[in-house]
Symmetry: D2
Subunit: 370 residues, 4 copies
């Protein structure tokens, strides 16, 4: 078993998530090159050293370029704030590293396009952190759709709701600044779009309505400041497979914590899913006696690989971090030159374009093509 | 206890539903004028006689005008196919009767407007059969919203799904003909619109995308005929209260039987409801310890009047027919000159206008004002 | 269509429920002899007169014997407090009337046995008000079990929970007096037992543990009085079909409103049901791909007769009162000499005996045969 | 950051689970002594070497005694078949190691008692693998109960159901042999008992009914062999806190995958939990307006420590393996001399005694004291 040198930039929410994946991917999947945790970067050298000890990295630095330039590092995890993704990814690719970059790709479409070009030029694997596509149930749903289990799909509904912007009296922060992007659209609308990409080939044209639940928010220093981003988005869509549908996003949705929900209607059946209950999905098929038909709740199980690599018993459940670990494994598969279930930079660019088309359709009050 | 003479035109799905309401409203509510079931009309005199015996009507006829002209009839239930509503309602109003007409009002906006004018001119009560607004839980939700229990509402989602058009090989029928209307929009989109009317004052502007899941259907005589109506509709909306939202309609939704579902997000909480579980709703309020917050499932109970008129114990449940019976009681309240929770012709016209605005927005691919 | 004269004794919770059934059974089922509401009795003549007007009865009386003796009355609804059932039922049967008596039969086993003997001697129909067996879904579950849809049943679980005795500071009332019976066992344990009767042929031997959540309760006049009945019962059971199981009863179960829940495990599948969601049941069958198996939620529908007599569309839902109406129809079927899905006095005696066996097993701390 | 030497015996279902925990506990919790994976034993040296590479252990052996005797090993994970637990744990304790042993402790009560004595004599930490008590929600429920959030608890219900013995035609295996134990009771009845231990202090007396859904099973060589163990158990219980309750176990429960379910009723509220949806629990509190009360679904969140060590966002969900990782952390806390949420050998002996008392009560058909 050979090793592969890993660098990690950033150790916040997603940084820790990557670190857990790098630690666990070997024991869980038990094959391939074993990650060697070489170099970790944080904003300060002190914090970097502390995190390196916790996460099991050999070296630590306060300068991310040292990670990118480390000859023992072969693949770099980039988990820093969105505005830094492009610069770091470009540097890592230029240094010949594979890149595992958190979503969204970049804050501008131009940057995203440069990232795609750089990955192509470098001939390196460049994967985005769209972890929800890694849920074994989502992959199983993909197989069901491909096999025609619910017939031709004509109508879909996607919802993504959390409540971290729900309190109208929470102080004005960077998420309310225009510099952070459009709001719900890019902040987490990319998640349902990632599902649409793997399940339906993405969206073709869109018509969005963006909204601000609260016109302003209090400033810490007193007074209030007008909110510049849109916490709510409602979208009409046409998918590549010809189906139509809606997408509703709300990061001010009281009571919702991680409701990435999906309903898919086909000519022979239907499927529903909700990330808040990530270990089950609903499956309806119009077969058998009508008196006994109904949506069935299917629990995640070894029959939905790679769930079996985590637990050999059904219904025991995976967690959020396990999805990132599966993503890590897919990344290693890609690096090994095997087919992998990933969203790479090129595919991610399609998602970014969809987001921008939605924002454009809102401004112009008309349909936009992606 | 005085009586009130009742006429019934039509004895199908909704006709029987009206008949059950007229039979039960006295025993359930126990007050007011007792319905006297006077005259029933059906397409044939034979069927009329049979149904009159079953439903307890004194007289039967094959000519609906005899019901309208019967001097002992004071209020007329109109439950015939949509295309007949206008003529019958106008005749009944002209004869000085109160009218209880099933939804939708009419097949053209012009007819609907004439019906409103006629009701106003006659000074009679003219009520539409929007029974879902009568669910005691919907009325309770209305009170919660009015009291600010979830704060200012900023975002709503409505869904209406059934599967009676889901089979792609079901023969071409009148619901696929353009003469029947737009499709899902008027066929049952009016139900969520009725909820929006009582809860939020209705919609201001809309942007719809209509879709056909199946381009054609088999003809009984062989061959196939192109479908002219839209079984699917996706709509962006702006409500009178300033909130934005989406509405998704699908009468070809495999597995859904009567999913009139609603999600309402406010600054302090959220509410969700699904007609398939009509005896419960979901209520989230952002109060107390965050560790113990969650959507609570509230079961229908005597605390939600007029549930208490049906059963004195909580959680025992009302049925679909009970909603029509409550509607019947509200109609009698209106006739008695008391405040009533109804959608009258004037309000119903607003719903019809919203439907037509949606169809227009689809054709023009742009926002339409109602 | 001939008529059948109806008498009603009692107009409380169940009295009104019977009255609604008598009013609606003709319109809903549309066949057979039409009920003629002849005579109603209440404790006072005044109240009787008022209720007769509300419920549509021709005559009213403060003396229940006048109803029993009325020659125009052919069937008598008995909905008075439990202690009066025996005397009234015996008198009605002696007068040659059919009897529809609310559960439980009587407060002593001796009385129940006399009622069975009297019904047999009179050759009249004597039906008990076990309405939950009338749910079209329960009847459908019965068909599934009979057809072997889940194979041989080996294990069952029944729960019955409400919260009307949950408040420890609610004043001492008659339900806490020994004279009212054992407590949860006879107060509502008879409901799950009625389901076990129709689905599994009843119970053979039992082992119960009775419990008091609160030792005493406040008296209105001050001070506290020791509670004499058992609000909680836990029971081990062996059923006539050989299966074992448990039954848990709690009328002090905070949050439960009408949770009559059932789980049935068989060699090929499983079924679950909860009366709080009376329009659905859960059905698991071990067929097809393991990756797609799960409990399916089947909504009540016309495919579950006699749901179709109420609504022609699936998923629209019946209510609690509709079950009593179906029971009324079955009673009329029995009177007409046709097979009927009822629990008559003889079957009801079996349920009473099971209750007494449970109480005995608690006292003796050992298994009791029914 | 100092290290602690870890030995692992066994690499099956639970062995891998321990390995994942040892790999992840440092990165997740980030504090304390970092596990150093020293020595791994499997039945064969070959398999041991392969697993050591996968799991990241330094040394491998086909002889478990080498792990126990390894001076660099300070704590030993024992994940072998139940019959081997006692010998290995005793050897490890005798060698001065801390022990982390999978449940159940042993196959005889005598062995379990020897293990308790050995742990006490050695002065070493000896923890059992009751991972479900580690769910942050179970720990939160424990806090709620302790704070009186639902008042005095009077009635509980526990269910544990899986379907790995559900197929009547699955071949006769060791789980059907008497040598394996009683069946459902010790195979997984210990899981609900572990919850009862941490939440209610355990059970005082019990009355069980054991059952065999299938009398015999096919032998691979043809013919059938009588089943000797009980796949089903139904139990009445009295808890140490005075509450009564039931426990139902079924390892032949079609459709159930990991339904470790619990209902707890108190004087002011109720709590329900189901391991199949391990990231939520149901909480009812009888406060506020009755019209708005209901069971609320609380999603796991950072407010339920140590969930926050895994993900900083609510509703994202932990998985089955995360519970073992938390257990590992608690073990390290105990080794460090800090208070820990564990079931040690002494507590585990209480669980074993409860199991044996249940079996005894079945044989004697009478209540047994634990």
């Amino acid at each position: 078993m050979t090793s592969i040198g890993v660098g990690l930039i950033g150790t916040g929410y997603m940084g820790k998530c990557h670190a857990l994946a790098w630690n666990g991917v070997g024991p869980v999947f038990g094959t391939g090159r074993r990650p060697r945790l070489v170099h970790l970067a944080e904003a300060s050298a002190d914090l970097a050293a502390r995190r390196a000890a916790e996460f099991g990295f050999e070296r630590a630095t306060g300068d991310w370029r040292e990670v990118v330039d480390d000859p023992e590092v072969e693949v770099v995890s980039i988990t820093t704030p969105n505005a830094l993704h492009a610069e770091m990814a470009l540097a890592a690719l230029a240094a010949g590293k594979h890149v595992w970059c958190e979503k969204p790709m970049a804050t501008t479409l131009v940057d995203a396009e440069r990232m795609v070009a750089a990955a192509r030029a470098a001939g390196r694997v460049a994967v985005l952190g769209y972890n929800y596509i890694q849920n074994p149930l989502i992959r199983h749903i993909g197989r069901l759709l491909a096999e025609g289990a619910i017939g031709a799909v004509s109508h879909v509904r996607f919802e993504m709701d959390e409540d971290f912007m729900a309190d109208p009296e929470a102080p004005f922060g960077w998420k309310s600044e225009a510099a952070s992007g459009y709001g719900a659209l890019d902040d987490f609308g990319v998640h349902p779009l990632s599902l649409m990409h793997v399940l339906f080939g993405g969206v073709v044209r869109v018509m969005a309505q963006l909204a601000k639940p609260y016109p302003d928010r209090p400033l810490p220093e007193g007074g209030r400041r007008a909110v510049e981003t849109f916490d709510i988005a409602s979208v009409l869509m046409e998918l590549r497979n010809g189906a139509t549908g809606i997408m509703a996003l709300n990061r001010a949705a009281r009571g919702r914590k991680n409701r990435l929900a999906m309903q898919v209607f086909g000519s022979r059946g239907a499927i529903a899913y909700d990330q808040e209950r990530m270990n089950e999905f609903q499956f309806f098929t119009a077969s058998g006696d009508a008196a006994d038909q109904g949506f069935r709740t299917v629990l995640s199980a070894p029959a939905h690989p790679p769930y079996d690599r985590f637990v050999p018993a059904p219904g025991h459940g995976l967690g959020f971090n396990d999805l990132k670990l599966i993503e890590c494994h897919e990344l290693l598969e890609a690096i090994a030159g095997r087919p992998a279930h990933i969203i790479d930079f090129a595919a991610g660019l399609g998602i970014e374009r969809a987001v921008h088309a939605m924002a454009r359709s809102h401004s112009e009050a008309s349909w936009s093509y992606v």
